[in-house]
């Protein structure tokens, strides 16, 4: 008998629209404000430059949006970036892999790392939070152990095109990110895969009873998360020209903050790629704007931490008021 069931229905899409509009508005105000403070801020060069820095976080934020929509989380992304960066450099330098093969190998390792997360989460039913904390430790440890904390440098010139080159003045990695944003956005909005993600997050049991391939889709999103982390590692190594085992440390914060700031509920069931993109841009502009107005680099992560907590607080209090 389930008579007194709570009626926790709320309008998802109008709220999201509101949230995204609100975010875009804040973004605009921040842009104008920062521009007024500093005349270097609102220049094309500066903005394109920021696009370069956004890409690694942005690549990972796309599958993270998928994961958070299903009600999961992946804390191991930063560690996978480190592991893949090491695999790229190490297999090239120590195994003597040709560089393209080393890149492919690093991407495969990333996908495998994500696949392992997904496999244990769906088969053994370890909660995603716990599983990815454990693999955060494991993957970072593997990067450290395999590399013996030695860095790799001296890549051939063509390798730097992805991280430092540009096409028609637009940073290469930003173009890659834009293409992937469009693909991810369409996948989430228009495909059965995307719809399944929302259904899992909103009511996993009902999704199973509707014959949706819940476990397969979860496995796919965690694998994608690993793959995207591998891609981010490639971009990162190409941008900074060296491979170090501590690469990507703390990325999980920026990525999760961008997704949550973009309106995805940490409890699952809602979120959009467009929201994530706005969240991402906001975080980067905040960082850059603060830096240009003289705030030191490390203080910006304080701002991100505050933004993360506040955005979840505001979202959940709005949600509760509607109930």
């Amino acid at each position: 008998m389930s008579l007194g069931v709570e009626t926790r229905a709320f309008r998802v899409s109008p709220w999201l629209k509101r949230h995204e509009t609100l975010l875009a508005l804040i973004l605009l105000i921040a842009l104008v404000g920062l521009g007024a403070f500093n005349d270097r801020f609102l220049t094309i060069d500066n903005l394109l430059d920021q696009g370069r820095f956004i890409s690694e976080i942005g690549l990972i934020a796309l599958p993270m949006t998928f994961i958070i929509i299903t009600g999961g989380i992946d804390l191991s992304v930063g560690a996978i970036v480190g592991l893949c960066a090491i695999m790229l450099g190490y297999s090239w330098k120590n195994f003597g892999f040709p560089l393209p093969l080393a890149i492919a190998f690093a991407l495969a390792v990333g996908a495998l790392a994500g696949f392992v997360n997904g496999l244990v989460i769906t088969r053994v039913k370890v909660p995603p939070l716990i599983m990815t904390i454990a693999t955060l430790a494991l993957y970072r440890g593997l990067a450290e152990g395999i590399s013996q904390a030695r860095s790799v440098r001296g890549y051939p010139e063509w390798f730097y095109f992805l991280g430092q080159g540009s096409v028609f003045g637009v940073p290469t990695q930003l173009l890659v990110l834009i293409v992937l944003i469009v693909i991810a956005g369409i996948a989430l909005d228009r495909t059965t895969f995307g719809r399944t993600l929302y259904a899992i997050g909103a009511n996993e049991t009902a999704a199973r009873f509707s014959a949706l391939p819940v476990d397969r889709v979860k496995l796919i999103v965690y694998t994608l998360s690993g793959l995207a982390s591998g891609l981010a590692a490639w971009v990162l190594v190409s941008r900074v020209t060296t491979t170090r085992m501590d690469m990507g440390a703390g990325y999980e914060l920026d990525v999760i903050a961008a997704v949550v700031l973009g309106g995805a509920s940490i409890f699952g069931g809602s979120g959009t790629i467009w929201g994530t993109v706005i969240g991402l841009v906001m975080i980067q502009l905040l960082k850059n704007g603060l830096a240009l107005t003289g705030v030191k680099g490390d203080a910006t992560i304080v701002v991100i931490g505050v933004a993360l907590i506040l955005s979840v607080l505001i979202a959940s209090s709005l949600e509760r008021r509607r109930d």
Partner: protein, 331 residues
């Protein structure tokens, strides 16, 4: 459920005994066994100096793992504790160098630790924000805040009497005394006080806890405040054994502390565990790290080993629960 599984008193007592002492006994055996094996390979491992260094240098991890165990038992997680310990150590050192009375330099970080954790606990308990989000945010606030305030400057020239960790009582170094005392007191409190038991009830079955008159929200707040207390004590032990405080957050410290708590038998799904186990696990992890050096394995493999250890423990714990569920607990 057949008649054969109906517990006879003797069987039941043994089962209860196994559940309560199982993980602790296992850890104790592992600690001794590892010491013997590594000692056979390289006898220098068993040198008093090495063993005492091992305990001294890792006591703060065991102390912090006590609070972490409580947090996990209550069904939450905290990944900000490593950064917090770094911040508190810096506060402590700065006060001492600035000429504040030593007692102030010792006590203020503990109070700050309680305040920071209690604030997080309040957000988790009363505003119902998942602890991972709150503590992830706090991690970055503490980390960024620390570096931007201190500029990463090292704190040197600490006054001689600041070094609490250098003291000893009846030949036992202070960090070990504090570790043992904190573990024993916390274990007794968790076992013998109604509010200690409430932690288990909250983590095990919050709905039922409420029906039994336990207030899960107040319990979570209390747990975080206590976690702050232990983090404060841990930072004190940590800071006062350093000659130079680096005013950065120790890399990956939160993972070591979580590993100690989980490997010590705290179920990651909440509701089980003891702090004796977490302290033993902290010692075991320190022992493994040290042993690697003595058997000529690169210390860079330590973190991978720690990761594998936590992963194996978590999976074993979940499988054990599922087996029990299949035997009829959840029907």
């Amino acid at each position: 459920m057949s008649a054969t599984t109906i517990a006879s008193p003797g069987y039941a007592r043994r089962a209860a005994f196994r559940r309560l002492v199982g993980q602790e006994a296992l850890l104790a055996v592992a600690i001794i066994g590892l010491a013997i094996v590594v000692g056979l390979i390289n006898p220098r491992f068993l040198a008093t100096r090495n063993l005492s260094d091992l305990l001294l240098g890792n006591a703060y991890i065991a102390i912090a793992a006590i609070g972490m165990s409580m947090v996990i038992i209550s069904g939450n997680i905290d990944i900000s504790v490593g950064a917090l310990i770094g911040v508190l150590a810096t506060i402590s050192g700065s006060l001492a160098v600035a000429g504040a009375p030593i007692v102030i330099a010792w006590v203020v970080p503990i109070l700050v630790g309680v305040a920071v954790m209690a604030a997080q606990g309040a957000i988790v308990a009363y505003l119902r924000i998942p602890s991972i989000v709150v503590t992830l945010g706090m991690l970055s606030i503490l980390k960024g805040g620390l570096i931007s305030v201190t500029g990463g400057k090292w704190i040197t020239d600490l006054p001689q009497d600041f070094h609490l960790a250098d003291l000893s009582l009846f030949g036992v170094p202070m960090p070990v005394i504090i570790m043992v005392l904190a573990t024993v007191l916390a274990a007794l409190w968790m076992r013998n006080s109604p509010s200690g038991r409430a932690i288990y009830a909250t983590g095990g079955n919050p709905e039922a806890a409420r029906l039994c008159g336990v207030n899960p929200q107040r319990t979570v707040l209390m747990v975080f405040a206590l976690h702050g207390l232990f983090a404060g004590i841990a930072s004190l032990v940590y800071a006062t054994q350093l000659r130079v405080i680096q005013s950065t957050t120790p890399q990956g410290l939160e993972l070591t502390i979580i590993t100690a708590a989980v490997v010590g038998g705290v179920s990651i799904l909440g509701g089980v565990g003891t702090v004796v186990g977490s302290t033993l696990a902290a010692i075991l992890i320190a022992e493994i790290t040290s042993a690697l050096v003595f058997i000529n394995v690169s210390p860079y493999w330590t973190d991978a080993l720690r990761g594998a250890l936590i992963l194996a423990t978590v999976i074993a714990d979940i499988l054990r629960r599922q087996r029990r569920a299949a035997q009829g607990w959840k029907r």
